[in-house]
């Protein structure tokens, strides 16, 4: 589909990415991404290695910590092009979450100890924010840390912990002061998952995978030097996360990639000229353009010194709506071909992952602040309705 970013510089940069990917991306990984299949740990690890060697693994990190020094525009172009070329999107728990938090709030020791291992992939991080029964009301978390000699003893449970089965570290929000307002007694701690007291239960998802887990913490010792920033400031750090990469939440690259796959599926089954399908595809292509144009307009405003705050919630809302609509359209094109389970003899290409992706991506409008929460944020913080 149309690229809005297509100046001579953009095009040269795109070419550089293409050359890199064609030399580095493993054909098997490429094939899986191009068919929408779930990734294994190895797919991610192999690709992270290549990106790391090139210095491109953490697009938004400052150069001194190992980022490539790209502008916001270059990051959009890279995201788009990497998706287009069927590279796997790396999980963001280390690279987009705890990494940036440590860069902003961590101690120099924490930065030195952890950042290089995040870039290289030696450490795999997972996120311990959500708790069973809390849902969107994150601040009501119950996992508690009690003071002990030289550190804290943490007990409680965390859930929806994506890829915890691969992780050796988890960053957690825990309650360090139960007496104050719920947002004010929360701290952020880094926990080694190999410690005694840490255990894991996989959660089977309706898409057939087990990508999320419940994590149980039973009197796990966290030394003082693994508390991020100040005690009881954890909520502030978690909120700062939302500010980070917030212009990327429209998921333009991801949407374009899916659109391209759905178009190809329509073409390969002769349904691309079916007026219903064609209209839906064109409408969604235009919807993606609107998100891209809006992202660029907001970025230009920021560059011109305008303050942009919670407005970016709109990118999350529309981006996820578009992606979910695309997975539905894929089902419409597939019809009964979407019904055999993946990897069974009944599979009919190109729809082997159509149902998996439809089911898996229901999460997009739920996690990271559900779309209902995002609309409330817009209404109260941007529109002033309260």
């Amino acid at each position: 589909m149309t690229d809005l970013l297509n100046s001579a510089e953009d095009q040269a940069f795109r070419q550089e990415i293409r050359d890199f990917v064609s030399a580095e991306l493993h054909p098997e990984t490429r094939a899986k991404v191009s068919r929408g299949a779930p990734m294994t740990r190895d797919d991610f690890a192999r690709w992270q290695e290549s990106l790391h060697a090139k210095g491109w693994v953490a697009p938004a990190w400052p150069k001194e910590h190992g980022g490539p020094g790209w502008t916001a525009r270059e990051r959009i172009v890279a995201d788009e092009e990497l998706f287009r070329l069927h590279t796997p999107p790396l999980p963001g728990f280390g690279l987009k979450m705890i990494g940036p938090i440590l860069i902003q709030f961590g101690s120099p020791e924490q930065q030195q100890r952890f950042l290089p291992r995040i870039l290289s992939g030696e450490d795999w991080w997972c996120q311990g924010f959500s708790e069973p029964g809390a849902g969107s009301d994150l601040a009501s978390l119950k996992t508690k840390a009690e003071r002990t000699e030289g550190g804290w003893l943490v007990s409680g449970s965390k859930t929806w912990t994506t890829y915890a089965q691969y992780a050796n570290w988890i960053f957690c929000l825990v309650r360090t002061d139960p007496e104050v307002k719920k947002q004010e007694g929360i701290s952020m701690m880094l926990i080694d998952m190999s410690l005694p007291g840490v255990s894991r239960r996989p959660i089977r998802l309706m898409d057939g995978t087990e990508e999320v887990n419940e994590i149980f913490l039973d009197q796990v010792f966290v030394p003082d030097d693994l508390v991020v920033g100040e005690i009881n400031k954890g909520w502030t750090y978690a909120k700062a996360l939302l500010e980070h990469e917030r212009f990327g939440i429209g998921g333009i690259g991801r949407s374009k990639h899916l659109l391209q796959r759905v178009r190809e599926a329509a073409q390969s089954t002769g349904r691309a000229d079916d007026p219903e399908i064609a209209n839906a595809l064109d409408t969604l292509e235009i919807d993606v353009m609107a998100i891209e144009a809006t992202t660029l307009r907001l970025l230009a405003a920021v560059e011109a010194g305008v303050k942009i705050g919670a407005e970016t919630s709109l990118l999350k809302i529309r981006g996820t709506e578009i992606q979910q609509a695309l997975t539905e359209l894929m089902l419409d094109i597939a019809g009964p071909a979407a019904l055999p389970t993946r990897d069974s003899v009944g599979v009919q290409e190109p729809f082997e992952n159509a149902m998996y992706q439809f089911l898996n991506w229901r999460k997009l409008s739920i996690y990271g602040g559900s779309n209902e929460i995002q609309r409330s944020i817009l209404a109260t913080q941007v529109l002033g309705l309260k």
């Binding site: 539905e328 089902l331 999460k363 559900s370």
Partner: protein, 361 residues
């Protein structure tokens, strides 16, 4: 004339057998074990269903059936759908048996159906995508069939496939024993067992072929669709009720989710969609008994469009309102969602249904 009278005694009795069956055999944990072991493939279970009269329910009494009307079997099928039953009840009881009862002379029908209705022999109608017939040729007194049928629910359990075939433009139905075809089993996303059936020159006697079967096939397809819509309606209803309960129970930000106005309005919409689905399936079931075939197909297709739309919307909102819990396999929500998706995709989705509606107009 469409009659919307509430359910009668017979309807309720049949429905109760389904409720008991689901309660006894389909508790979620039990079902999960079945999924990994032998989805819908337990002979004892099938015999139990036959004993309950399920397989004979909508077949006329002259062919050995119970002679229930389509409307009388709707609530029963709704319970089985909502109960996530894995056996191929619909394909046998709502499709194959009633089609044969119409297509065959009554003597032959009674003879052929005896073993089907008793549960001895699992027999299925098998056609290509969108009901397309399989190519057939004649060789002497034989018919030779060649083609692949990509998806037959329950196909791995069948003893006989009634192949919808076509020889030089003449459509017919012909029984082919399972031994004569290549059957590859695979699971569907909702856990039911299906099979790919390949006919590589399968040969059968022309004497067994049933011609003049178009009317019966059309009736059978419509009736089978009513059965699937009944299942969907049952699923919509159960998903609506589960979500409503969850909204009353689950607290966030210090109060039940159901007190948030946005949730209230979305639940009101879900209620509306449930009511519409119920009305449409009743309408379609009633239409099955009408004499105007075009009107029958039109109303069944109308119900199909509406119920597909409402099922999609309800499953989308039910997952969203359940939040993280909506995407796991640990609550019934996820399982119901997959069953609904199976049922709405199976016959080509909304657009295929709208096409049928237009054609019948």
């Amino acid at each position: 004339m469409i009659d919307f009278k509430p359910a009668d005694e017979e309807t309720l009795l049949l429905k109760e057998t389904a409720e008991r069956f689901v309660a006894d055999h389909y508790e979620l944990a039990l079902r999960n074990v079945m999924l990994t072991a032998s989805a819908g493939r337990r002979p004892a279970r099938w015999a139990e269903m036959a004993d309950l009269g399920w397989l004979a329910a909508p077949v006329g009494e002259d062919a050995g059936g119970l002679g229930l009307t389509p409307k009388q079997v709707v609530p029963f099928l709704s319970v089985l759908g909502a109960g996530l039953v894995l056996e191929p009840i619909g394909p046998v009881a709502m499709h194959c048996a009633p089609t044969l009862a119409r297509a065959l002379s009554s003597t032959r029908a009674e003879a052929v159906l005896a073993s089907v209705l008793s549960g001895e022999s699992i027999e299925l109608i098998a056609a290509g995508p969108a009901g397309a017939p399989v190519k057939a040729g004649r060789e002497g007194d034989d018919i030779v069939l060649t083609g692949t049928i990509p998806l037959v629910i329950g196909g791995a359990q069948a003893s006989v496939f009634w192949i919808v075939a076509d020889c030089e433009g003449v459509p017919f139905l012909v029984p082919v024993p399972a031994e004569k075809v290549w059957v590859e089993e695979f699971p569907l996303i909702d856990g039911q067992s299906a099979a790919k059936v390949s006919l590589q020159g399968a040969r059968c006697s022309a004497a067994d072929a049933v011609t003049d079967c178009e009317e019966a096939l059309a009736y059978g397809n419509d009736l089978a669709m009513v059965g699937k819509l009944a299942e969907l309606t049952g699923l919509i209803d159960r998903l609506y009720r589960k979500t409503l309960d969850y909204m009353k129970l689950r607290e966030q930000f210090g109060r039940p989710l159901g007190r948030f106005q946005v949730v209230q309005h979305r639940m009101a919409d879900m209620f509306i969609k449930r009511e519409e689905a119920q009305s449409m399936v009743d309408m379609a079931a009633e239409a099955m008994t009408g004499e105007d075939v075009a009107l029958r197909s039109k109303l069944v297709a109308a119900a199909q469009v509406k119920i597909y739309d409402n099922a999609r919307a309800v499953l989308r909102d039910a997952v969203q309102l359940h939040g993280g819990m909506g995407v796991t396999d640990e609550l019934p929500v996820g399982h119901m969602v997959k069953r609904m998706l199976m049922l709405t995709q199976l016959d080509g989705g909304r657009q295929a249904a709208l096409g049928k509606f237009r054609k019948a107009a």
